[in-house]
Symmetry: C2
Subunit: 453 residues, 2 copies
């Protein structure tokens, strides 16, 4: 969509919001009719869920399914809960098995059995099989609808298989090659098949050392591998190397989008939103933030206690109070920087918990360099403006705080990953709060030592 | 790669690092030989650039090209600068035009003419054409090597075209359909072609309302559209709707990976790294952080000045100093939360600068709710522990600070986008620093009013 179209969608959303508040369904329908499917999707992402459900009902049946499939799983979940049972059952039956599992993951557990009962036996088995794999594993995100070929088949025989599966298979552009025991022995691309003679054997054409995922593997890791190597599809195997599914690159991109959104949110101390920002009610925005804000505020009472302990020192030298925000702010920033870099590297698979000592050594050195630089500046400026004793306290504190903050900031994401928590959960605000209290203790200890109070 | 393989790569990297420090090239080569291409890529991402260049030279020629193509553009850039001219010229000639432009974007401008001279006339024209499009536009990231078909051609005729372009085209799975004026009138998938009879006309099979990008469009926006709609390829047209290139989904995923890395880095107040964390020298880590840290520290001297202004008040009531970190910390967190949510929504195209009033209204309300909640708690606790006047000051300050912080945090990313700066640049640390100073002014004004000092 072009910027002009986006502008139109924004205006259409406002108009439809007004029309619906006046119960003018015919008017709303007239606004909807000229919009393309992607435009309707954008529009739904700008409406509250009640309005979105009405818009959905105003669509013709074919368009409704197309729109539904293009919505994010979170929006699908909210929409399903706003629609009637009969509507949902029809919709659910028409979805692909992987999209169905994704949707079920967004719904209360009690809804699943009812929806599954509405499926044909075969569809139900495919879907239930996927639901058996662990949360966040690639088993729940792969597609169980694939076409395979065998090393001893010819290109012509394989092409016939492909033609027979055009309507059902998730992809026909990358085919896993399996042996008699359903074990993956290679992959072959449709492009390779088209470039070969009809009687060429798959065994001679295939890539015999393909990328593969194990069904219990973390979905994000498998998705990242798929996009990193530009694989159109990644075969997924069970514990005995038998093919059980395939992850296509578009599904990989969808997984990564959701993971990136979660990481970005947690890095800022927010719970990820289920739906788009504009369509999320204020009450949900508040809920997505309040828990972390409270946790952090409770953590911050530590700083009150630290300052309370040193109140006598403070009363004696009020000038020390002036630098508190600057010092803890700098500590927090240094910690954030380290945490941000390491969290991203973890997400990209560049570092792992086993690299803990390497990371620690790098962050100690980086933090020390940064602290030295800022500390010299702080010493000079505070020394000139106030007095050189104060300058010395500020300078030394900056060196110590930056070193500690970078080390803690770099270690936290690794510690989180080691105990199997999302590294982004020990988010920047969390580190800031921790570093704040530590920084204050360091500050006052140095002040007492240097100033002899 | 499985976790075991990653473990092996980490160990291999350590071993190779040691062997190279002893100049034992034969030993290093022996460690490299059994590794697969993806393993070598991971290994290179763990080595400093000098070691990486030696490893690269130890690879056989075919493997070297495969490894190079799988490296990130930043690593490619560093590697090219560490290799000899002749090696680079050969490498450059074998790359695809889009990968070549990506690499040139990572190199000093002076290098480009020399490298371009080493290409054949046709390859040079393709590459130079792309270099003519603006920085960050999809024109620099698309592939100019595509196969097209026409509405009046049959399936058999189109298949013949596809077979003729198997080796050169970026993709053969999605074909743009163009008219006589090279204007895009639809797209058709190879899957559709395979399901049709040989004499069917493309005009009857094609999707006549396809997603399209304009060549000057922002690369991230076009890439996001490609993955959001699971398009295997997106046609790119010039100002007169004529086809000039195609963006494949794997290239779209690569663009998004880079953009996400940049956003994550800037959200934490760090300049994005060119290479992986472990392969980046400490001096570069320091450089990636020091500028922002200095800017923020200079910004934070505002807080020293604010506190200096109110020093008399502070000296009179030292208890006020105890809450400074808690209050400004909470303000900073609230601002971060809002900025994080809005920055991500902007990146996903869910909101745009024109939605400024909607966002402001949502953030004022959200911030006020959060402030009210925390304020009541703060009032009760500070009132009980210290005295109720102090509690009132803390409570009122929290309400005001949270409201202001959420509003500022929500507005900043939109303001940045409006003036065409990366919204993530006005990053969380930036907002924290701004909110710190504002929060202190609010705090002391409320304190003076309530306490009558």
């Amino acid at each position: 969509m072009t910027p002009t179209q986006l502008q139109n969608v924004a205006e259409a959303a406002d108009t439809i919001g007004q029309l619906l508040s006046q119960n003018d369904l015919a008017g709303a329908s007239a606004v909807l009719t000229p919009l393309t499917v992607p435009e309707v999707v954008e529009l739904v992402d700008r409406l509250g869920i009640e309005d979105a459900a009405i818009v959905y009902r105003l669509l013709t049946k074919g368009r409704a399914l197309e729109v539904f499939e293009a919505l994010s799983p979170g929006t699908q979940g909210d929409l399903v809960q706003a629609l009637r049972n009969a509507e949902v059952t029809t919709l659910f039956a028409e979805m692909d098995p992987d999209d169905r599992v994704w949707l079920l993951d967004e719904l209360p557990a009690s809804v699943a059995p009812r929806l599954l009962r509405g499926l044909t036996r075969q569809e139900r088995d495919l879907t239930s099989g996927m639901l058996g794999y662990p949360q966040d594993s690639i088993g729940r995100r792969m597609s169980p609808e694939f076409v395979t070929t065998h090393p001893q088949l010819t290109v012509a025989e394989t092409m016939a298989r492909v033609r027979g599966a055009l309507d059902s298979a998730e992809t026909v552009y990358t085919l896993p090659v399996t042996d008699r025991g359903r074990r993956v022995v290679g992959v072959v691309s449709l492009r390779d098949l088209m470039g070969a003679t009809d009687d060429a054997l798959i065994g001679d054409l295939m890539n015999g050392d393909p990328h593969i995922a194990v069904v219990s593997e973390d979905a994000e890791t498998a998705a990242r591998r798929t996009t990193d190597y530009g694989l159109l599809a990644l075969p997924v195997v069970d514990g005995e190397d038998r093919l059980v599914g395939i992850l296509t690159i578009d599904d990989a991109a969808r997984i990564l989008k959701q993971e990136e959104s979660e990481d970005a949110a947690r890095q800022g101390g927010v719970e990820p939103l289920r739906r788009s920002y504009l369509s999320t009610p204020i009450s949900r925005l508040v809920r997505s933030r309040v828990v972390w804000l409270l946790v952090l505020a409770v953590g911050a009472t530590l700083t009150v206690q630290v300052l309370d302990t040193f109140e006598a020192t403070l009363a004696q030298m009020t000038v020390l109070a002036l630098f508190v925000p600057l010092l803890i702010g700098t500590g927090g920033n240094t910690g954030n920087q380290a945490a941000t870099t390491v969290t991203r590297s973890l997400a990209l698979g560049e570092v792992a918990p086993r690299d803990v000592l390497k990371v620690l050594s790098r962050e100690v050195r980086t933090g020390f360099c940064l602290g030295l630089l800022l500390g010299l500046l702080g010493f000079a400026i505070a020394g000139l403006v106030y007095e050189w004793h104060v300058g010395l306290v500020i300078g030394l504190t900056l060196v110590a705080v930056c070193t500690v903050a970078a080390s803690v900031g770099g270690m936290m994401p690794l510690a989180a990953r080691a105990i199997r928590v999302d590294p982004a959960v020990f988010s920047n605000p969390f580190i800031t709060t921790f570093v704040d209290a530590t920084g204050l203790v360091i500050y006052f200890l140095i002040a007492k030592a240097v100033l002899g109070i």
